[in-house]
């Protein structure tokens, strides 16, 4: 009988890894990349294919991220020390788990990681995910690159990692709001309309008053605009009207008889603007979309039916806006420090 043989594949993989790192072009270096993803990266995986020369610090959940930032040892990580220079956050981290947005929030709140460049990683921005991306942009200081797990976005992320390494080598801060060539650039959208003298962020506009938060919660629960508007008015009085007067004016009294229309009017042409945007704000670049929609005379079909559009908007985005984490964001805005040269 032939002799038994033991083959240690781990040693071969380690040798491969060393060879890859040694094979970097002159002036290049591998960096530590914090990857928060609930799935391991397999052979044909996105990270192994596009970022092979970098070290992957793999975290499975937001809880693991918190443990990592607290300095606790995670058994699946390679040997310390760790110096992450880029974070890649999967948007969805499993059903019932805290998602990539909350991971980003934690990074932005931590003194050591608040300036860490981040990329939102996802397979696509469909349905309400585009609003989540807008929220992510706000958390990231106004903009965030979004990379899909595709062969087209992979090289862009690789180039991005290279540029970050160069900036760090030159002791320069990487501007978080900087667009990454080849990747979706999700920007925070500003609201220029209504009674606001200065532009406010869309998220702040949607959640700035208690009655609005109640409205989204009720829409998420019952998906009924009439009931949600009624509950919002019942719990918060006359909303924005008559806050400084005991007795409402007759005109206001008449308006108040129709809760649904009243709430729709309070939101203004927001839903119309969103419809015109096709629900894809990341393609519009900033706040121009909302100004254009508000002043546009060429869309009469949208002008007379604010309630219908608000219902469509709220049905689609109510569950996101009703999320306790999202509702708490305007109360605790995260803003990175102004970009400056490191001392």
């Amino acid at each position: 009988m032939p002799d038994p043989v033991n083959i240690d594949l781990t040693a071969r993989v380690a040798a491969e890894e060393r060879a890859r790192r040694a094979d970097l072009a002159p002036g290049e270096r591998g960096i530590d990349i914090l990857v928060i993803d609930d799935q391991p990266d397999h052979e044909a995986g996105w990270f192994a294919r596009h970022l092979p020369s970098h070290r992957r610090l793999s975290l499975e959940s937001v809880t693991e991220l918190e443990r990592f930032l607290a300095g606790k040892r995670l058994p699946n990580l390679p040997q310390p020390p760790y110096r992450p220079e880029l974070a890649i956050l999967d948007l969805s981290l499993g059903a019932g788990q805290r998602d990539g947005l909350q991971a980003l929030h934690i990074l932005r709140c931590g003194p050591a990681t608040r300036d860490l460049p981040a990329i939102l990683n996802t397979n696509g921005l469909e349905d309400h995910r585009d609003l989540l991306a807008v929220l992510a942009a706000q958390l990231n200081g106004g903009a965030i690159p979004v990379a899909r797990k595709t062969s087209t976005d992979g090289p862009s992320v690789r180039d991005h990692a290279r540029r970050i390494a160069h900036a760090n080598d030159a002791d320069l801060s990487w501007p978080l709001a900087k667009a990454v060539p080849g990747l979706l650039h999700v920007q925070e959208v500003f609201w220029h309309g209504g009674d606001k003298a200065t532009p406010v962020s869309l998220l702040a506009y949607l959640l700035d008053l208690p009655w609005k938060r109640t409205y989204w919660k009720e829409m998420a629960r019952h998906r009924n605009h009439q009931d949600a508007a009624f509950e919002a008015r019942k719990r918060h009085g006359t909303l924005a009207l008559s806050t400084d007067r005991e007795i409402p004016e007759p005109g206001e009294r008449k308006t108040a008889q129709n809760h649904a229309r009243f709430v729709a009017n309070q939101f203004g042409p927001l839903a119309v603007a969103w419809d015109l945007a096709g629900g894809h704000l990341h393609r519009l670049g900033g706040g121009l979309s909302l100004i254009a929609a508000q002043q546009e005379e060429g869309f009469p079909e949208f002008s007379g039916n604010r309630s219908a559009h608000l219902v469509a908007f709220a049905t689609r985005y109510g569950p996101v806006l009703a999320d306790p984490f999202v509702q708490s964001l305007p109360d605790h805005p995260v803003r990175p420090r102004p970009q400056r040269l490191r001392p």
């Binding site: 083959i7 594949l9 993989v13 491969e16 052979e43 044909a44 693991e64 699946n76």
Partner: protein, 288 residues
């Protein structure tokens, strides 16, 4: 009465459910104690005793009725959920599983090996999804047994021809997403390769040993195919698995006994401490 309904629907602490049985008797005793001194005649005393007794009996009857109704609602809900799962499962079976079965039979026509493996895994994932729906699970495939069953749902003859079995397994609920992902990829890859080599014996053991900061999970696959392990080339799926566990600070070895059997062993650290599964799950099939 509303309190009884609320307690039945949202039971709360166990002591509260016990205490409510005594609310009626206590109320009856209190009422009797109040009425008795003011009831000098026999009819009045009869009222003073019978009235509270009726209150007491009524409260117990009310509790029993509410509990019975809630139980019936629960049963109806479970039946409806099961029906919905069955309908969803049939829908997945007809729209996804059957086409994926056709694809998996023609995998050899896909020239690119990475794409071929990706399509194979996708098909197995669809099989697992259909199985999860049929069994009413609300999570992905986790344990070795669940992954093996998904594979066997495409290849039911493997079990008989190759004796594929799981000898040790871990509780699926205890495994993390990362552990489950590794188990899925390793089991689906090793079992498929073993079957393609016409293995006569295939045993899978998934175990764990506690460590200071979690546990060390070990997946051991015994394959008896009569051949020796040849040179493991860098593009092989075995090297792919080795890279997978290495990225999670794990190891992979192959022990070739020289008698036509070999053991693939993958170990990796886990942040959880999964419990050992008491017995292998019954082989449930959804090939209807």
């Amino acid at each position: 009465m509303s309190a009884h309904v609320v307690w039945e629907l949202e039971p709360g602490p166990r002591w509260m459910r016990r205490v409510r049985l005594f609310i009626g008797p206590i109320a009856a005793v209190v009422v009797s104690a109040l009425l008795w001194p003011a009831s000098p005649t026999t009819p009045a005393r009869f009222v003073a005793v019978a009235g509270p007794a009726m209150v007491m009996a009524g409260s117990w009857r009310l509790i029993a009725q509410i509990a019975s109704q809630v139980k019936r609602f629960d049963e109806a809900r479970e039946q409806t959920t099961e029906l919905a799962h069955r309908i969803d499962s049939r829908l997945v079976h007809s729209t996804l599983k059957n086409p994926s079965r056709a694809i998996i039979d023609e995998l050899a026509l896909i020239p690119d090996p990475d794409l071929r493996e990706g399509v194979r895994r996708l098909c197995y994932g669809i099989g697992g999804f259909a199985q999860s729906l049929a069994l009413g699970r609300t999570r992905d495939l986790r344990s070795a047994e669940e992954v093996l069953q998904a594979l066997l749902s495409y290849n039911p003859d493997w079990s008989a021809r190759y004796g594929a079995s799981v000898t040790h397994d871990l509780e699926p609920e205890d495994l993390t997403h990362r552990d489950a992902g590794i188990v899925f990829m390793a089991v689906s890859d090793l079992v498929t390769n073993a079957a393609l080599r016409s293995a006569t014996q295939l045993e899978i053991a998934l175990t764990s040993a506690p460590t200071a900061d979690g546990s060390m999970v070990k997946l051991r696959v015994l394959c008896r195919c009569g051949a020796r392990i040849g040179e493991v080339v860098p593009t092989s799926s075995l090297m792919g698995l080795a890279r997978l566990v290495h990225a999670e600070n794990g190891t992979m070895t192959i022990d070739d006994a020289g008698d036509g059997s070999h053991v693939f062993q993958l170990t990796w650290p886990s942040s959880s401490r999964p419990r050992t599964r008491a017995a292998a799950a019954p082989k449930e099939s959804i090939n209807a």
